[in-house]
């Protein structure tokens, strides 16, 4: 187990190193320096600024400094907002994004699993077809379209929910739903197919022969095994919710890290883009690692020592 975790950690660090390096060199290749704006800055001031930020030093020193500062959890300054660092942006925006993300994660998993189980228990009946049509539709509708649909009908036309902003729990419902729709549909399909496979197993028949009720069999025997693929999906799921939050936060005017990120893309605020990307990458890689480790604990059939991913 320990060997497995350290091996995974090593790969994670290498992936992270790759993305940090790629962002660093891409940003260097970006057209225009950070201080070249419409307003002409006198050359002396530009020189001083460059010196202050270390931009006059050779690239390998800058690169090394950058790696060290990332390791110290310092993502550098924002070049567009004077006096604000990327860390400030993260500290300010991330709690909001985290709350929204957790809420939609909860919605996606609970409703998705429930739908999948209902569909599997009623295999080839109307409940099954209804759930699966719903799931295929959910997968086909991108989150930003879902967000606009929900906003248009539930908020503007029916007025059930506030249209935008981030003030009360009511405000969180629509964005969380829009964000959860696609993963929810995917989880429903995943649960259904693994549930169907599990229900065909011998030990389920044994349980039935023993005289257990359908409910007991489902809860005690089937779900525990059927849930495993959903656990493996949690890694990609967090990636999906995270990237989905960019547009959702923008649409609903939520002051989270995602909308800051989109704004920095529109403003071509290169240091912020770079810092937030690295922060997001760390977050995603960590969550994938956690899911992998958790998987090993949940499913005793998997021996992680082999170093292969739990498959």
């Amino acid at each position: 187990m320990l060997r497995y975790i350290s091996k995974r950690l090593l790969y994670m660090l290498m992936s992270l190193f790759l993305i940090v390096t790629v962002t660093f060199f891409l940003m260097r290749a970006a057209p225009g320096g950070p201080f070249s704006s419409e307003k002409q800055v006198p050359p002396e001031i530009e020189k001083n600024l460059n010196e202050y930020y270390g931009l006059d030093r050779p690239w390998y020193i800058q690169y090394f400094d950058y790696l060290v500062s990332i390791a110290k959890w310092d993502f550098g300054p924002s070049f567009k907002y004077k006096g604000q660092t990327v860390n400030d942006l993260i500290n300010e925006g991330f709690p909001v994004s985290f709350f929204l993300g957790m809420e939609s994660l909860l919605i996606a998993i609970s409703i998705g699993v429930l739908l999948g189980i209902i569909a599997a228990l009623n295999h080839n009946k109307w409940q099954d077809y209804a759930a699966m049509v719903f799931a295929v539709l959910g997968i086909s509708v991108p989150s930003f379209i879902m967000a606009s649909i929900l906003q248009y009908f539930l908020a503007i036309k029916l007025g059930w929910f506030p249209v935008a902003r981030w003030e009360s729990l009511q405000h969180t419902v629509l964005p969380a739903l829009a964000l959860a729709a696609m993963p929810m549909a995917f989880i429903a399909r995943l649960t259904r197919s693994s549930m169907l496979e599990v229900l065909g197993n011998d030990y389920i028949r044994t349980a039935k022969a023993k005289g257990l009720s359908q409910g007991q069999i489902t809860v005690k025997h089937a779900i525990r095994n059927a849930i495993l693929p959903v656990v493996t999906y949690l890694g990609p799921l967090s990636a999906q919710i995270l990237t989905g939050s960019f547009v959702i936060e923008k649409i609903f005017g939520i002051p989270g890290l995602g909308s800051h990120f989109v704004t920095s893309i529109t403003n071509r605020d290169y240091t912020t883009i770079m810092g937030v990307t690295v922060f997001y990458s760390i977050l995603l890689l960590l969550s994938v690692l956690l899911v992998d480790i958790a998987y090993g604990f949940i499913d005793p059939r998997i021996k992680l020592a082999g170093g292969k991913k739990g498959e």
Binding site: Y11, S15, V22, I265
Partner: protein
């Protein structure tokens, strides 16, 4: 009991050839797959939808007298009518024409990304799986590291720096997109290469590339095809997503993503400007998803009835 006269009995003629005859003509693997696929109503519906979409992408722009880029400032934000079937946008451009131009771009991006993924993925995964040993170890470690890199974040960074355009978008999508295909092909090749027919081919002196392209790849074609059909909607989604962030194809080119993102801003007053591109994004993704699912089911011999 009724008496049956002896004359009514006749000896059965033993026909040696007849005894060997199979009750059903034997089907090739792909024929079998196509029969199973055609039985799947949802998948067939998706396929027909796809054919229609491709047809409209080719001929749709010629069905009106409008051009996708010409502004008509006297007729901005018109609702759908007999003149403009899908209405017009804020610059008075005909949305019907733009929708089908957008279809070309979206489908092109999807197909191009899937094809590039296919070529790199099959070569990389095939070589890694077939060679095995150190080569496999090194190649798959590289793939693992790339696999860890968050896909959309990398695509966003690349688009920000390399600038907007069709080419950069496809490049950005394929730079790590092929890893998935490579992993699947490698898995298949690992499984297949130890089969007797590969050994037989090798004994007969077949070259590695012949074994690869004549034996291994065709047998792995099923999973490759399914992965491809599921890559396409992903690429179409990514295009729409990037366009939404303002990183899509540059104006005045129409893509469903840019049209939808402009439509969202005008949703309250001119809902049709979102409705049409959004509907076709969803329909296309739906069609590719059900066709992909149908193919997977049709190719899985465990589901054979």
């Amino acid at each position: 009991m009724q008496q049956i006269p002896k004359e009514m009995f006749q000896p059965a003629v033993a026909n040696v050839g007849e005894a060997e005859k199979l009750s059903k003509p034997s089907l090739s693997f792909w024929k079998d797959v196509s029969i199973r696929f055609r039985k799947n109503k949802l998948a067939m519906f998706g396929l027909i939808l796809l054919i229609l979409l491709v047809f409209m992408a080719i001929f749709g722009p010629y069905m009106t007298k409008y051009d996708y880029a010409t502004n008509d400032l006297m007729n901005t934000n018109q609702p759908p009518s007999s003149k403009h079937w899908f209405g017009t946008d804020e610059l008075g451009r005909d949305i019907f024409t733009r929708t089908w131009y957008g279809a070309r771009i979206s489908l092109f991006i999807g197909l191009a990304a899937a094809l590039i993924d296919l070529v790199i993925g099959v070569l990389w995964g095939g070589i890694a799986g077939y060679r095995g040993g150190k080569t496999d170890e090194i190649m798959m470690r590289i793939a693992d590291i790339l696999y860890g890199v968050p896909y959309l974040l990398l695509v966003i960074i690349l688009m920000v720096i390399l600038g907007q355009g069709l080419g950069t978008m496809i490049l950005a999508m394929t730079i790590t997109g092929w890893v998935n295909m490579a992993r699947i092909v490698r898995g298949q090749v690992l499984q297949l290469k130890n089969q007797e027919y590969v050994l037989a081919a090798r004994t007969l002196g077949a070259s590695t590339s012949r074994i690869m392209f004549k034996h291994l790849i065709p047998n792995a074609m099923g999973s490759i095809l399914v992965t491809m059909t599921l890559t396409i909607p992903n690429a179409i989604f990514t295009e729409a997503f990037l366009s939404y962030l303002g990183l899509g194809v540059p104006q005045p080119l129409a893509s469903w993503g840019t049209m939808a993102s402009e439509g969202v801003q005008a949703l309250q007053y001119y809902p049709w400007r979102l409705f049409f591109p959004a509907t076709f994004i969803c329909l296309t993704m739906f069609a590719f998803n059900v066709v992909g699912d149908g193919l997977r089911d049709a190719l899985d011999p465990r589901l054979r009835k």
